[in-house]
């Protein structure tokens, strides 16, 4: 573990008397490797290392009898702080319905997570509907309908020959006329570099003015996650992120990268295939998972 490696390094250094800047930099190499192996983005790691190196060169560490513990604490605290606050709130509209739009790359978990979010909000007393705006993927609408029926949440669909913009508009009207106070729009997976499809998302946004645009990110995504997050954020000004498949054994460094590059909160994490497998995001737990 990183803790073990740092302790070994500082054990070797202790015999030399007072800690030097070079000693701290040596320790930081281990932190850098640990973060890169956890899939934190290279440039995010560089910046992070600069920050914690500076903090570790302070008097407290340099004169400490247990420098390893201090450095570990600095790294952990800095990582936790970067992961953001524990607030995973959906911003509900004071004029219902609250409109939530799910976006992200292909296969990241949008459809499943839309169901989980609907189920979660239902348990909190809301009255949600799901909206089938993926008109491209084979059997996507059916998938959302199966998900919806398993949690007793209606699915609004206009088939796959209508544009996603019209479906979204139709859904909002339907919600207003039938007293649904949350509208969760599932969209088709798409590449952040697909201009036409990114424009489609912008058009849906302009048409229905969502209260929440949530970027769904697979927790095992590697270095490229910064490009994805940056593009989606630039195009849509997302409100938050949902990290999925955290029931895997990936360290999930993508969480730090996304946060560092968008400064938007991670609102939920998904940790399983059941529609109950969604939880509030805990920054401290994510930090220790990334560090390994």
């Amino acid at each position: 573990s990183l803790t073990g490696k740092l302790q070994d390094i500082f054990k070797k250094l202790r015999g030399k008397g007072k800690l030097s800047e070079k000693d701290v930099k040596e320790a930081m190499k281990e932190v850098k490797i640990a973060l890169l192996e956890a899939d934190v983005n290279f440039k995010v790691v560089k910046e992070f290392i600069n920050t914690v190196t500076e903090k570790s060169l302070g008097q407290e560490v340099m004169e400490s009898l247990t420098p390893a513990q201090h450095v570990i604490k600095i790294v952990n605290d800095e990582l936790t702080a970067l992961m953001g606050s524990k607030e995973s709130k959906i911003n509900f509209s004071d004029k219902p319905p609250t409109i939530i739009m799910m976006v992200g790359l292909q296969g990241s978990g949008k459809t499943t997570t839309s169901g989980k979010l609907a189920n979660y909000l239902k348990s909190k007393g809301k009255n949600p509907i799901l909206v089938a705006c993926d008109v491209y993927r084979p059997a996507a609408i059916k998938q959302l309908q199966v998900v919806g029926s398993s949690i007793n949440v209606p699915v609004f669909s206009m088939g796959d020959k209508t544009t996603p913009v019209d479906i979204a508009k139709g859904a909002v009207d339907f919600a207003k006329n039938n007293n649904y106070n949350v509208v969760i729009i599932d969209t088709a997976g798409r590449l952040h570099i697909d201009e036409e499809l990114m424009d489609e998302l912008k058009n849906i946004k302009d048409a229905v003015n969502p209260n929440e645009i949530l970027l769904v990110v697979d927790a095992m995504t590697g270095q490229d996650v910064v490009n994805v997050a940056e593009s989606f954020n630039e195009k849509l000004d997302i409100d938050g992120v949902i990290l999925t498949k955290l029931d895997g054994d990936t360290r999930g460094g993508a969480a730090l990268s996304v946060k560092a590059v968008t400064h938007k909160p991670i609102k939920f994490i998904a940790s399983g295939e059941k529609l109950t497998d969604i939880e509030v995001f805990h920054p401290d737990r994510m930090a220790s998972r990334i560090l390994g």
């Binding site: 490797i33 890169l36 192996e37 956890a38 899939d39 983005n41 290279f42 790359l105 292909q106 296969g107 990241s108 978990g109 491209y136 993927r137 084979p138 059997a139 996507a140 059916k142 998938q143 309908q145 199966v146 998900v147 398993s150 590449l191 952040h192 570099i193 697979d218 095992m220 995504t221 590697g222 270095q223 490229d224 996650v225 490009n227 994805v228 498949k245 029931d247 895997g248 054994d249 990936t250 360290r251 460094g253 993508a254 295939e273």
Partner: protein
Amino acid sequence: LSLGRKIDDELFEELEEILILADVGVVTTEKIIENMKIKAKEQKIKEADKIKDLLAEEIYNIMEVNERPFNITSPTLILIVGVNGVGKTTTIGKLANKYKNEGKKVLLVAADTFRAAAIDQLEVWAGRNNCEIIKHEEGSDPASVVFDGIKAAKARGADIILCDTAGRLHNKKNLMEELKKIYRVAQREFDNANIETLLVLDATTGQNAVQQAKIFKEAVNVTGIILTKLDGTAKGGIVISIKSELDIPVRFIGVGEGIDDLQEFDSEKFVRALFE
């Protein structure tokens, strides 16, 4: 990296950054850079451009060593496995198209009996390819679908059987046991020599892909990789570590969501793309 630039630590750091950003991983990157430095010294290389060529060569050799062609003799069962959402079902749709275009008789087996509308999804692909599909009810035992699929394939003289499975995380012991059972049924009912287990990996995946390859290989003897979503900006450098540590070759790449968006893996193209 321009001509006339000197070979120094800054150059090596820049090359290291390219590889790390391509998801090659820390350990594999260090190994590659070290071997390249040794060769550069041996060959007394003086230009920075030659260094980059040497690096490309190093990676190309990793991908090509022990290379054996992906020869499909009829009949062959191709078991498609991998974690959730990587592109297994879509890739089967593309493979069916490829083999049908080669004049082969293709049969699809819908052994993902778990995920919502998974069978419906594969049925659409069967329709697009005008090929037959064996399916059971949602929720039925996947191994029994495979059993029936093999029986039907033999009866109908299928050349290629493409078997879809449910996405599953490799750290889920019960799901990996289910997959092993599917594989055992396939081995028992079908000539073992003609089974290919292809692991589908998403090019956007980071270092966790190496663990996926390791565990799936131990469970169902993965013989090749299909790397999907290379039409995005991710480089898929994880396959370099996987080849070097587990000797699993990449057979195909997915470059889009359409039926034709499948290409045979080309090491040279792959390496060139790493540096673009």
